[in-house]
Protein backbone atom coordinates (compact mmCIF):
# COMPACT_ATOMS: atom_id res chain seq x y z
CA UNK A 1 0.00 0.00 0.00
CA UNK A 2 2.71 2.56 0.82
CA UNK A 3 4.08 1.86 -2.64
CA UNK A 4 0.71 2.59 -4.13
CA UNK A 5 0.38 5.86 -2.20
CA UNK A 6 3.92 6.74 -3.21
CA UNK A 7 3.03 6.20 -6.82
CA UNK A 8 -0.14 8.25 -6.42
CA UNK A 9 1.72 11.15 -4.87
CA UNK A 10 4.23 10.95 -7.69
CA UNK A 11 1.44 11.45 -10.10
CA UNK A 12 -0.17 14.29 -8.20
CA UNK A 13 3.11 16.04 -7.38
CA UNK A 14 3.52 18.10 -10.56
CA UNK A 15 0.53 20.24 -9.58
CA UNK A 16 1.80 21.01 -6.11
CA UNK A 17 3.43 24.15 -4.83
CA UNK A 18 4.61 25.60 -8.12
CA UNK A 19 4.68 29.25 -8.86
CA UNK A 20 2.16 30.11 -11.52
CA UNK A 21 4.48 31.88 -13.92
CA UNK A 22 7.11 29.16 -13.83
CA UNK A 23 8.03 27.85 -17.30
CA UNK A 24 7.60 24.08 -17.41
CA UNK A 25 10.24 22.44 -19.54
CA UNK A 26 10.88 18.83 -20.49
CA UNK A 27 14.27 17.93 -21.94
CA UNK A 28 15.30 14.63 -23.47
CA UNK A 29 18.50 14.24 -21.42
CA UNK A 30 19.72 15.22 -17.97
CA UNK A 31 22.65 17.07 -19.54
CA UNK A 32 20.27 19.37 -21.42
CA UNK A 33 18.14 19.73 -18.27
CA UNK A 34 21.19 21.00 -16.38
CA UNK A 35 22.05 23.55 -19.07
CA UNK A 36 18.44 24.78 -19.20
CA UNK A 37 18.42 25.13 -15.42
CA UNK A 38 21.57 27.27 -15.31
CA UNK A 39 19.97 29.77 -17.69
CA UNK A 40 16.39 29.58 -16.41
CA UNK A 41 17.19 29.47 -12.69
CA UNK A 42 14.14 29.62 -10.43
CA UNK A 43 11.91 30.69 -13.29
CA UNK A 44 11.90 27.26 -14.86
CA UNK A 45 10.93 23.79 -13.74
CA UNK A 46 12.89 21.19 -15.71
CA UNK A 47 12.28 17.46 -16.07
CA UNK A 48 14.13 15.04 -18.32
CA UNK A 49 13.12 11.78 -20.01
CA UNK A 50 16.20 9.59 -20.65
CA UNK A 51 17.77 7.82 -17.65
CA UNK A 52 21.43 9.00 -17.69
CA UNK A 53 22.89 5.49 -17.51
CA UNK A 54 21.25 4.33 -20.75
CA UNK A 55 22.13 4.77 -24.39
CA UNK A 56 20.21 7.91 -25.33
CA UNK A 57 19.45 6.60 -28.83
CA UNK A 58 17.11 3.99 -27.36
CA UNK A 59 14.96 4.96 -24.43
CA UNK A 60 11.50 3.71 -23.55
CA UNK A 61 9.49 6.68 -22.31
CA UNK A 62 7.11 5.99 -19.44
CA UNK A 63 3.55 7.22 -18.90
CA UNK A 64 4.73 10.01 -16.58
CA UNK A 65 7.01 11.34 -19.32
CA UNK A 66 4.08 11.78 -21.68
CA UNK A 67 2.03 13.37 -18.91
CA UNK A 68 4.79 15.86 -18.05
CA UNK A 69 5.40 16.69 -21.69
CA UNK A 70 1.71 17.21 -22.35
CA UNK A 71 1.69 19.84 -19.60
CA UNK A 72 4.99 21.45 -20.52
CA UNK A 73 5.54 24.83 -22.13
CA UNK A 74 8.72 23.84 -23.93
CA UNK A 75 10.32 20.63 -25.22
CA UNK A 76 14.12 20.76 -25.44
CA UNK A 77 15.94 18.07 -27.41
CA UNK A 78 19.18 17.27 -29.20
CA UNK A 79 17.87 17.37 -32.76
CA UNK A 80 19.48 15.36 -35.57
CA UNK A 81 18.93 11.66 -34.95
CA UNK A 82 20.01 11.68 -31.32
CA UNK A 83 16.73 10.45 -29.86
CA UNK A 84 15.07 7.83 -32.06
CA UNK A 85 12.03 8.02 -29.77
CA UNK A 86 11.60 11.80 -29.96
CA UNK A 87 8.92 12.03 -32.68
CA UNK A 88 6.60 9.35 -31.24
CA UNK A 89 6.93 10.90 -27.77
CA UNK A 90 6.04 14.37 -29.09
CA UNK A 91 3.10 12.87 -30.90
CA UNK A 92 1.90 11.01 -27.81
CA UNK A 93 1.91 14.31 -25.88
CA UNK A 94 -0.81 15.50 -28.24
CA UNK A 95 0.85 18.88 -28.86
CA UNK A 96 1.91 19.56 -32.44
CA UNK A 97 3.90 22.53 -31.11
CA UNK A 98 6.48 19.99 -29.91
CA UNK A 99 6.98 18.34 -33.30
CA UNK A 100 10.28 19.00 -35.08
CA UNK A 101 10.19 22.58 -36.33
CA UNK A 102 7.27 23.51 -34.04
CA UNK A 103 7.14 26.79 -32.06
CA UNK A 104 7.43 25.20 -28.60
CA UNK A 105 10.40 22.92 -29.19
CA UNK A 106 14.06 23.78 -29.08
CA UNK A 107 16.63 21.91 -31.15
CA UNK A 108 19.96 22.39 -29.38
CA UNK A 109 21.99 21.39 -32.42
CA UNK A 110 20.99 24.67 -34.07
CA UNK A 111 23.89 26.95 -34.81
CA UNK A 112 26.55 24.35 -34.03
CA UNK A 113 29.37 23.36 -36.30
CA UNK A 114 28.65 19.66 -36.65
CA UNK A 115 31.30 17.06 -37.30
CA UNK A 116 31.14 14.10 -39.67
CA UNK A 117 28.36 15.35 -41.94
CA UNK A 118 28.53 12.86 -44.80
CA UNK A 119 29.86 14.38 -48.01
CA UNK A 120 28.60 13.78 -51.50
CA UNK A 121 25.67 11.60 -52.49
CA UNK A 122 24.42 9.57 -49.57
CA UNK A 123 24.76 5.83 -49.68
CA UNK A 124 24.22 3.50 -46.78
CA UNK A 125 26.98 1.29 -48.12
CA UNK A 126 29.57 3.90 -47.10
CA UNK A 127 29.10 2.61 -43.61
CA UNK A 128 28.30 6.04 -42.31
CA UNK A 129 25.86 6.30 -39.54
CA UNK A 130 24.47 9.71 -38.74
CA UNK A 131 22.93 11.26 -41.83
CA UNK A 132 22.96 14.76 -40.33
CA UNK A 133 26.35 14.69 -38.63
CA UNK A 134 27.50 13.25 -35.33
CA UNK A 135 24.91 14.11 -32.64
CA UNK A 136 27.09 13.83 -29.49
CA UNK A 137 28.08 17.50 -29.72
CA UNK A 138 27.65 18.47 -26.04
CA UNK A 139 30.90 16.71 -25.10
CA UNK A 140 32.78 19.82 -26.27
CA UNK A 141 32.54 22.73 -23.79
CA UNK A 142 32.94 25.16 -26.72
CA UNK A 143 29.62 23.83 -28.02
CA UNK A 144 28.07 24.16 -24.55
CA UNK A 145 28.66 27.91 -24.82
CA UNK A 146 26.57 28.06 -27.98
CA UNK A 147 23.93 25.72 -26.51
CA UNK A 148 23.32 27.91 -23.45
CA UNK A 149 22.98 30.95 -25.73
CA UNK A 150 20.39 29.10 -27.81
CA UNK A 151 18.53 28.26 -24.60
CA UNK A 152 18.65 31.87 -23.34
CA UNK A 153 17.25 33.15 -26.64
CA UNK A 154 14.34 30.72 -26.53
CA UNK A 155 13.52 31.41 -22.88
CA UNK A 156 13.55 35.15 -23.58
CA UNK A 157 11.20 34.60 -26.47
CA UNK A 158 8.79 32.67 -24.25
CA UNK A 159 9.02 35.05 -21.34
CA UNK A 160 10.20 38.46 -22.62
CA UNK A 161 9.68 40.14 -19.25
CA UNK A 162 12.46 38.00 -17.78
CA UNK A 163 14.88 38.50 -20.62
CA UNK A 164 17.32 40.47 -18.46
CA UNK A 165 17.47 37.79 -15.83
CA UNK A 166 18.11 35.03 -18.37
CA UNK A 167 20.89 37.10 -19.88
CA UNK A 168 22.46 37.67 -16.49
CA UNK A 169 22.38 33.95 -15.79
CA UNK A 170 23.76 33.25 -19.23
CA UNK A 171 26.66 35.67 -18.88
CA UNK A 172 27.53 34.39 -15.42
CA UNK A 173 27.61 30.82 -16.71
CA UNK A 174 29.58 31.76 -19.82
CA UNK A 175 32.16 33.40 -17.55
CA UNK A 176 32.35 30.27 -15.45
CA UNK A 177 32.69 28.08 -18.54
CA UNK A 178 35.43 30.28 -20.02
CA UNK A 179 37.41 30.03 -16.82
CA UNK A 180 36.97 26.27 -16.71
CA UNK A 181 37.82 25.88 -20.40
CA UNK A 182 41.19 27.56 -19.78
CA UNK A 183 41.80 25.22 -16.86
CA UNK A 184 40.77 22.11 -18.84
CA UNK A 185 42.88 23.09 -21.86
CA UNK A 186 45.88 23.62 -19.63
CA UNK A 187 45.48 20.19 -18.06
CA UNK A 188 45.14 18.57 -21.47
CA UNK A 189 47.99 20.42 -23.22
CA UNK A 190 50.70 17.85 -22.40
CA UNK A 191 48.72 15.14 -24.19
CA UNK A 192 47.94 17.06 -27.34
CA UNK A 193 48.05 14.97 -30.53
CA UNK A 194 48.04 11.66 -28.63
CA UNK A 195 46.11 8.86 -30.34
CA UNK A 196 43.26 7.12 -28.47
CA UNK A 197 40.78 4.34 -29.14
CA UNK A 198 37.06 4.81 -28.38
CA UNK A 199 34.30 2.22 -28.12
CA UNK A 200 31.38 3.88 -29.95
CA UNK A 201 31.67 6.89 -32.22
CA UNK A 202 30.42 9.29 -29.52
CA UNK A 203 33.59 11.26 -28.83
CA UNK A 204 34.72 13.28 -31.89
CA UNK A 205 33.76 16.59 -30.24
CA UNK A 206 35.59 15.82 -27.02
CA UNK A 207 38.64 14.66 -29.01
CA UNK A 208 38.47 17.85 -31.02
CA UNK A 209 38.36 19.95 -27.85
CA UNK A 210 41.11 17.99 -26.11
CA UNK A 211 43.32 17.82 -29.19
CA UNK A 212 43.35 14.01 -29.12
CA UNK A 213 43.38 11.87 -32.23
CA UNK A 214 40.77 9.07 -32.44
CA UNK A 215 42.77 6.32 -34.13
CA UNK A 216 40.27 3.48 -33.92
CA UNK A 217 36.92 2.20 -32.69
CA UNK A 218 36.21 -0.95 -30.70
CA UNK A 219 33.01 -1.35 -32.73
CA UNK A 220 33.80 -2.13 -36.38
CA UNK A 221 30.75 -0.02 -37.29
CA UNK A 222 28.45 1.87 -34.95
CA UNK A 223 26.12 -0.64 -33.32
CA UNK A 224 27.92 -3.72 -34.69
CA UNK A 225 29.59 -5.91 -32.05
CA UNK A 226 33.39 -6.29 -32.41
CA UNK A 227 34.52 -9.10 -34.72
CA UNK A 228 37.69 -11.19 -34.31
CA UNK A 229 39.33 -9.75 -37.42
CA UNK A 230 38.49 -6.21 -36.43
CA UNK A 231 39.97 -6.70 -32.95
CA UNK A 232 43.10 -8.13 -34.58
CA UNK A 233 43.43 -5.08 -36.83
CA UNK A 234 42.74 -2.75 -33.91
CA UNK A 235 45.43 -4.46 -31.85
CA UNK A 236 47.84 -3.90 -34.74
CA UNK A 237 47.00 -0.20 -34.89
CA UNK A 238 47.26 0.14 -31.09
CA UNK A 239 50.67 -1.46 -30.99
CA UNK A 240 51.97 0.46 -33.99
CA UNK A 241 50.76 3.83 -32.74
CA UNK A 242 51.46 2.96 -29.09
CA UNK A 243 47.89 3.79 -28.09
CA UNK A 244 47.53 3.62 -24.33
CA UNK A 245 44.02 4.93 -23.66
CA UNK A 246 40.62 3.42 -24.50
CA UNK A 247 37.55 5.56 -23.87
CA UNK A 248 34.05 4.15 -23.48
CA UNK A 249 30.67 5.03 -22.01
CA UNK A 250 29.68 3.25 -18.79
CA UNK A 251 26.86 1.32 -20.50
CA UNK A 252 28.93 -0.53 -23.12
CA UNK A 253 30.36 -3.98 -22.38
CA UNK A 254 33.74 -4.25 -20.65
CA UNK A 255 34.94 -7.56 -22.06
CA UNK A 256 36.45 -6.45 -25.36
CA UNK A 257 38.14 -3.30 -23.99
CA UNK A 258 39.59 -5.43 -21.18
CA UNK A 259 40.99 -7.89 -23.70
CA UNK A 260 42.54 -5.05 -25.68
CA UNK A 261 43.95 -3.62 -22.48
CA UNK A 262 45.52 -6.96 -21.48
CA UNK A 263 47.27 -7.24 -24.85
CA UNK A 264 48.51 -3.66 -25.11
CA UNK A 265 48.71 -2.37 -21.54
CA UNK A 266 46.27 0.40 -22.43
CA UNK A 267 44.11 1.95 -19.71
CA UNK A 268 40.32 1.68 -20.14
CA UNK A 269 38.38 4.68 -18.85
CA UNK A 270 34.60 4.92 -18.44
CA UNK A 271 33.63 8.50 -19.18
CA UNK A 272 30.21 9.91 -18.35
CA UNK A 273 28.58 11.12 -21.57
CA UNK A 274 25.55 12.38 -19.66
CA UNK A 275 25.09 14.36 -16.47
CA UNK A 276 24.11 11.88 -13.75
CA UNK A 277 25.71 8.88 -15.45
CA UNK A 278 28.40 8.68 -12.75
CA UNK A 279 28.63 9.98 -9.20
CA UNK A 280 31.15 12.64 -10.24
CA UNK A 281 29.06 14.03 -13.10
CA UNK A 282 26.65 16.02 -10.94
CA UNK A 283 26.20 18.80 -13.47
CA UNK A 284 27.65 19.81 -16.82
CA UNK A 285 30.84 21.37 -15.48
CA UNK A 286 31.62 18.53 -13.09
CA UNK A 287 30.95 16.08 -15.93
CA UNK A 288 33.60 17.69 -18.13
CA UNK A 289 35.82 17.99 -15.04
CA UNK A 290 35.53 14.25 -14.54
CA UNK A 291 36.28 13.57 -18.22
CA UNK A 292 39.39 15.74 -18.17
CA UNK A 293 40.61 14.31 -14.87
CA UNK A 294 40.18 10.72 -16.02
CA UNK A 295 41.91 11.39 -19.34
CA UNK A 296 44.90 13.14 -17.76
CA UNK A 297 45.18 10.46 -15.06
CA UNK A 298 45.15 7.72 -17.70
CA UNK A 299 47.96 9.39 -19.64
CA UNK A 300 49.95 10.06 -16.45
CA UNK A 301 49.60 6.40 -15.49
CA UNK A 302 50.93 5.40 -18.90
CA UNK A 303 53.92 7.77 -18.50
CA UNK A 304 54.83 6.26 -15.15
CA UNK A 305 54.74 2.77 -16.73
CA UNK A 306 57.10 3.61 -19.59
Amino acid sequence: MPLFLGALSLFVAPDFGLAKNEIKIVTTTKTFADLVKVVGGDLVKVDYVAPPNQNVHFVEPRPSDILRLSKADLFVHGGLDLELWRAPLAEASGKSQFFDGGPRQLDLSEGLLLLEIPEGPLSRAQGDIHVFGNPHYWTSPENAKIIVKTIADKLSELSPENKKLFEENLNRYLGELDKKILEWKEKLTPWKGKPIVVYHNSWPYLADFAGLEIAGFVEPKPGIPPTAKHIQQLLGIMKEKKIKVIIKETFFENKTPKKLSEQTGAVVINLPISVGETKEARDYISMIDSMVTQITQAFEKEMSHD
Partner: protein, 278 residues
Protein backbone atom coordinates in the same frame (compact mmCIF):
# COMPACT_ATOMS: atom_id res chain seq x y z
CA UNK B 1 -8.47 10.28 -14.16
CA UNK B 2 -8.60 12.64 -17.11
CA UNK B 3 -4.80 12.47 -17.23
CA UNK B 4 -5.01 8.70 -17.23
CA UNK B 5 -7.43 8.62 -20.13
CA UNK B 6 -5.56 11.31 -22.01
CA UNK B 7 -2.31 9.35 -22.00
CA UNK B 8 -3.52 5.78 -21.94
CA UNK B 9 -6.54 5.63 -24.26
CA UNK B 10 -4.40 5.02 -27.31
CA UNK B 11 -2.32 2.16 -25.86
CA UNK B 12 -5.45 0.70 -24.25
CA UNK B 13 -7.39 0.76 -27.49
CA UNK B 14 -4.39 -0.68 -29.35
CA UNK B 15 -4.21 -3.51 -26.79
CA UNK B 16 -7.89 -4.31 -27.25
CA UNK B 17 -7.48 -4.38 -31.03
CA UNK B 18 -4.47 -6.68 -30.60
CA UNK B 19 -6.46 -8.90 -28.22
CA UNK B 20 -9.25 -9.25 -30.77
CA UNK B 21 -7.19 -10.90 -33.45
CA UNK B 22 -4.36 -12.49 -31.48
CA UNK B 23 -6.55 -14.38 -29.01
CA UNK B 24 -8.17 -15.93 -32.08
CA UNK B 25 -4.93 -16.71 -33.93
CA UNK B 26 -3.47 -18.02 -30.67
CA UNK B 27 -6.02 -20.82 -30.61
CA UNK B 28 -4.77 -21.96 -34.01
CA UNK B 29 -1.15 -21.63 -33.00
CA UNK B 30 -1.62 -23.65 -29.81
CA UNK B 31 -3.66 -26.34 -31.61
CA UNK B 32 -1.00 -26.61 -34.30
CA UNK B 33 1.76 -26.69 -31.68
CA UNK B 34 3.77 -24.02 -33.47
CA UNK B 35 4.16 -21.78 -30.44
CA UNK B 36 7.12 -19.73 -31.63
CA UNK B 37 6.02 -19.25 -35.21
CA UNK B 38 5.25 -15.57 -34.59
CA UNK B 39 8.80 -14.91 -33.43
CA UNK B 40 10.17 -16.64 -36.52
CA UNK B 41 7.91 -14.71 -38.90
CA UNK B 42 8.69 -11.39 -37.20
CA UNK B 43 12.39 -12.14 -37.51
CA UNK B 44 11.99 -13.00 -41.21
CA UNK B 45 10.14 -9.73 -41.78
CA UNK B 46 12.98 -7.92 -40.02
CA UNK B 47 15.43 -9.68 -42.31
CA UNK B 48 13.44 -8.41 -45.31
CA UNK B 49 13.62 -4.87 -43.95
CA UNK B 50 17.35 -5.29 -43.40
CA UNK B 51 17.86 -6.26 -47.03
CA UNK B 52 15.82 -3.24 -48.16
CA UNK B 53 17.98 -1.11 -45.88
CA UNK B 54 21.12 -2.51 -47.51
CA UNK B 55 19.77 -1.36 -50.89
CA UNK B 56 19.48 2.12 -49.46
CA UNK B 57 15.73 2.33 -48.84
CA UNK B 58 14.39 4.20 -45.84
CA UNK B 59 13.49 2.02 -42.87
CA UNK B 60 9.91 3.22 -42.71
CA UNK B 61 9.45 3.70 -46.44
CA UNK B 62 6.98 1.75 -48.57
CA UNK B 63 9.77 -0.11 -50.43
CA UNK B 64 10.99 -1.50 -47.13
CA UNK B 65 7.47 -2.60 -46.28
CA UNK B 66 7.25 -4.56 -49.54
CA UNK B 67 10.59 -6.19 -48.81
CA UNK B 68 9.38 -7.34 -45.37
CA UNK B 69 6.15 -8.51 -46.90
CA UNK B 70 7.99 -10.54 -49.54
CA UNK B 71 10.16 -12.06 -46.82
CA UNK B 72 7.04 -12.93 -44.81
CA UNK B 73 5.52 -14.66 -47.85
CA UNK B 74 8.70 -16.66 -48.19
CA UNK B 75 8.45 -17.63 -44.50
CA UNK B 76 4.81 -18.65 -44.98
CA UNK B 77 5.80 -20.84 -47.94
CA UNK B 78 8.54 -22.49 -45.88
CA UNK B 79 6.20 -23.25 -42.99
CA UNK B 80 3.42 -24.61 -45.20
CA UNK B 81 5.82 -26.82 -47.15
CA UNK B 82 7.40 -28.27 -44.05
CA UNK B 83 4.18 -29.60 -42.54
CA UNK B 84 3.91 -33.23 -43.57
CA UNK B 85 1.15 -35.74 -43.08
CA UNK B 86 3.61 -38.12 -41.48
CA UNK B 87 5.75 -35.83 -39.43
CA UNK B 88 9.36 -37.00 -39.10
CA UNK B 89 10.80 -33.63 -38.13
CA UNK B 90 8.67 -31.70 -35.63
CA UNK B 91 7.60 -28.37 -37.07
CA UNK B 92 8.81 -26.55 -33.94
CA UNK B 93 12.31 -27.57 -34.97
CA UNK B 94 11.90 -25.99 -38.41
CA UNK B 95 10.53 -22.83 -36.79
CA UNK B 96 13.49 -22.65 -34.44
CA UNK B 97 15.94 -23.12 -37.29
CA UNK B 98 14.25 -20.44 -39.42
CA UNK B 99 14.29 -18.04 -36.48
CA UNK B 100 17.99 -18.53 -35.78
CA UNK B 101 18.95 -18.32 -39.46
CA UNK B 102 16.91 -15.17 -40.07
CA UNK B 103 18.37 -13.45 -37.01
CA UNK B 104 21.92 -14.44 -37.89
CA UNK B 105 21.51 -13.45 -41.55
CA UNK B 106 20.38 -9.99 -40.44
CA UNK B 107 23.55 -9.65 -38.34
CA UNK B 108 25.69 -10.70 -41.32
CA UNK B 109 24.01 -8.23 -43.66
CA UNK B 110 24.26 -5.41 -41.14
CA UNK B 111 27.95 -6.02 -40.58
CA UNK B 112 28.37 -5.10 -44.27
CA UNK B 113 26.02 -2.14 -44.05
CA UNK B 114 25.71 0.95 -42.02
CA UNK B 115 23.67 1.71 -39.01
CA UNK B 116 24.16 -1.50 -37.18
CA UNK B 117 21.64 -3.37 -35.16
CA UNK B 118 20.16 -0.11 -33.94
CA UNK B 119 17.60 -0.10 -36.72
CA UNK B 120 16.73 -3.76 -36.55
CA UNK B 121 15.97 -3.28 -32.90
CA UNK B 122 13.50 -0.61 -33.92
CA UNK B 123 11.60 -3.15 -36.01
CA UNK B 124 11.41 -5.75 -33.27
CA UNK B 125 10.92 -3.46 -30.30
CA UNK B 126 7.68 -1.61 -30.87
CA UNK B 127 6.46 0.67 -28.12
CA UNK B 128 2.78 0.30 -27.32
CA UNK B 129 2.77 3.46 -25.15
CA UNK B 130 3.68 5.64 -28.12
CA UNK B 131 1.26 4.10 -30.64
CA UNK B 132 -0.25 6.71 -32.98
CA UNK B 133 -3.76 7.03 -34.38
CA UNK B 134 -2.80 6.41 -38.04
CA UNK B 135 -0.99 3.23 -36.93
CA UNK B 136 -4.16 2.07 -35.18
CA UNK B 137 -6.34 2.84 -38.19
CA UNK B 138 -4.03 0.85 -40.46
CA UNK B 139 -3.94 -2.06 -38.07
CA UNK B 140 -7.73 -2.08 -37.62
CA UNK B 141 -8.32 -2.21 -41.38
CA UNK B 142 -5.78 -4.98 -41.90
CA UNK B 143 -6.99 -7.09 -38.98
CA UNK B 144 -10.63 -6.71 -39.94
CA UNK B 145 -9.90 -7.96 -43.45
CA UNK B 146 -7.96 -10.94 -42.08
CA UNK B 147 -10.71 -11.70 -39.56
CA UNK B 148 -13.40 -11.58 -42.28
CA UNK B 149 -11.36 -13.91 -44.42
CA UNK B 150 -10.95 -16.35 -41.53
CA UNK B 151 -14.62 -16.06 -40.61
CA UNK B 152 -15.70 -16.86 -44.16
CA UNK B 153 -13.55 -20.01 -44.27
CA UNK B 154 -13.76 -20.75 -40.56
CA UNK B 155 -14.66 -24.46 -40.96
CA UNK B 156 -11.69 -25.25 -43.16
CA UNK B 157 -9.23 -23.17 -41.14
CA UNK B 158 -10.32 -24.84 -37.91
CA UNK B 159 -10.27 -28.30 -39.43
CA UNK B 160 -6.73 -28.06 -40.75
CA UNK B 161 -5.52 -26.71 -37.40
CA UNK B 162 -7.31 -29.16 -35.13
CA UNK B 163 -7.81 -32.32 -37.22
CA UNK B 164 -5.35 -32.25 -40.12
CA UNK B 165 -5.69 -36.00 -40.60
CA UNK B 166 -9.40 -35.67 -41.25
CA UNK B 167 -8.71 -32.84 -43.69
CA UNK B 168 -6.26 -35.01 -45.59
CA UNK B 169 -8.82 -37.80 -45.76
CA UNK B 170 -11.51 -35.48 -47.03
CA UNK B 171 -9.18 -34.50 -49.85
CA UNK B 172 -8.75 -30.88 -48.74
CA UNK B 173 -5.51 -29.33 -50.00
CA UNK B 174 -3.98 -28.93 -46.59
CA UNK B 175 -0.84 -27.36 -48.03
CA UNK B 176 -2.76 -24.56 -49.77
CA UNK B 177 -4.77 -23.80 -46.66
CA UNK B 178 -1.65 -23.90 -44.53
CA UNK B 179 -0.10 -21.38 -46.87
CA UNK B 180 -3.18 -19.13 -46.60
CA UNK B 181 -3.06 -19.46 -42.84
CA UNK B 182 0.61 -18.53 -42.54
CA UNK B 183 0.26 -15.68 -45.06
CA UNK B 184 -2.55 -14.02 -43.13
CA UNK B 185 -0.88 -14.82 -39.82
CA UNK B 186 2.43 -13.36 -41.03
CA UNK B 187 0.70 -10.21 -42.24
CA UNK B 188 -0.88 -9.67 -38.82
CA UNK B 189 2.16 -10.51 -36.72
CA UNK B 190 4.56 -8.42 -38.78
CA UNK B 191 2.52 -5.28 -38.32
CA UNK B 192 1.65 -5.89 -34.67
CA UNK B 193 5.29 -6.51 -33.75
CA UNK B 194 6.22 -3.10 -35.14
CA UNK B 195 3.67 -1.52 -32.85
CA UNK B 196 3.89 -3.63 -29.71
CA UNK B 197 7.21 -5.49 -29.85
CA UNK B 198 7.85 -9.25 -29.93
CA UNK B 199 7.31 -9.96 -26.23
CA UNK B 200 3.91 -8.32 -26.02
CA UNK B 201 2.67 -9.83 -29.29
CA UNK B 202 3.77 -13.27 -28.12
CA UNK B 203 1.81 -12.80 -24.89
CA UNK B 204 -1.33 -11.62 -26.68
CA UNK B 205 -1.11 -14.66 -28.90
CA UNK B 206 -0.34 -17.46 -26.49
CA UNK B 207 -1.49 -16.57 -22.97
CA UNK B 208 -5.24 -16.16 -23.70
CA UNK B 209 -5.29 -19.44 -25.61
CA UNK B 210 -3.45 -21.29 -22.85
CA UNK B 211 -5.58 -19.76 -20.08
CA UNK B 212 -8.75 -20.78 -21.92
CA UNK B 213 -7.59 -24.38 -22.40
CA UNK B 214 -7.66 -24.75 -18.61
CA UNK B 215 -11.39 -24.19 -18.52
CA UNK B 216 -12.90 -25.49 -21.73
CA UNK B 217 -12.33 -27.84 -24.60
CA UNK B 218 -14.87 -26.12 -26.82
CA UNK B 219 -13.07 -23.85 -29.26
CA UNK B 220 -15.81 -21.19 -29.30
CA UNK B 221 -15.88 -20.99 -25.51
CA UNK B 222 -12.09 -20.83 -25.52
CA UNK B 223 -12.18 -17.92 -27.93
CA UNK B 224 -14.58 -15.96 -25.71
CA UNK B 225 -12.53 -16.78 -22.59
CA UNK B 226 -9.35 -15.77 -24.44
CA UNK B 227 -10.85 -12.43 -25.37
CA UNK B 228 -11.87 -11.90 -21.78
CA UNK B 229 -8.44 -12.76 -20.48
CA UNK B 230 -6.73 -10.54 -23.06
CA UNK B 231 -9.00 -7.62 -22.29
CA UNK B 232 -8.51 -8.07 -18.53
CA UNK B 233 -4.72 -8.14 -18.92
CA UNK B 234 -4.87 -5.05 -21.15
CA UNK B 235 -6.94 -3.00 -18.70
CA UNK B 236 -5.03 -4.12 -15.62
CA UNK B 237 -1.62 -3.82 -17.26
CA UNK B 238 -2.30 -0.34 -18.64
CA UNK B 239 -3.63 0.73 -15.24
CA UNK B 240 -0.58 -0.62 -13.35
CA UNK B 241 1.79 0.87 -15.89
CA UNK B 242 0.22 4.27 -15.37
CA UNK B 243 -0.04 4.29 -11.59
CA UNK B 244 3.38 2.83 -10.92
CA UNK B 245 4.93 4.59 -13.91
CA UNK B 246 6.40 1.41 -15.40
CA UNK B 247 7.31 0.57 -19.01
CA UNK B 248 3.95 -0.28 -20.53
CA UNK B 249 4.73 -3.31 -22.70
CA UNK B 250 6.65 -5.18 -20.01
CA UNK B 251 3.95 -4.41 -17.42
CA UNK B 252 1.23 -5.93 -19.60
CA UNK B 253 3.34 -9.04 -20.26
CA UNK B 254 3.86 -9.59 -16.53
CA UNK B 255 0.17 -8.94 -15.87
CA UNK B 256 -0.62 -11.72 -18.33
CA UNK B 257 1.70 -13.99 -16.36
CA UNK B 258 0.05 -13.03 -13.07
CA UNK B 259 -3.46 -13.62 -14.42
CA UNK B 260 -2.48 -17.00 -15.84
CA UNK B 261 -1.00 -18.01 -12.49
CA UNK B 262 -4.21 -16.91 -10.78
CA UNK B 263 -6.35 -18.94 -13.21
CA UNK B 264 -4.13 -21.99 -12.69
CA UNK B 265 -4.62 -21.63 -8.92
CA UNK B 266 -8.40 -21.37 -9.31
CA UNK B 267 -8.32 -24.47 -11.43
CA UNK B 268 -6.15 -26.27 -8.88
CA UNK B 269 -8.49 -25.44 -5.99
CA UNK B 270 -11.73 -26.07 -7.89
CA UNK B 271 -10.84 -28.72 -10.47
CA UNK B 272 -14.47 -29.28 -11.42
CA UNK B 273 -14.78 -25.72 -12.72
CA UNK B 274 -13.69 -27.10 -16.03
CA UNK B 275 -16.99 -28.88 -16.29
CA UNK B 276 -19.01 -25.75 -15.55
CA UNK B 277 -18.20 -24.03 -18.79
CA UNK B 278 -18.63 -26.41 -21.61
Amino acid sequence: MTDFLFIMWKPLLACLILTGIHAYLGIHVVEREVIFVDLALAQIAALGATIAFLFGFELHGSETYWFSLAATVLGAIIFSLTRRRQEKVPQEAIIGIVYAMAAAAAVLILSRSSEGDEHIRQILVGNILLVSVPEMVKMTILYTLVMLFHWWFRKTFMLISTHPEEAFERGISVRTWDLLFYLTFGLVVTSSVQIAGVLLVFSFLIVPAVGAILFSSDLRVRLVLGWGLGAAASFLGIFLSYFFDLPTGATIVCTFGGLLLFLALVKFIHPKNSGLIK
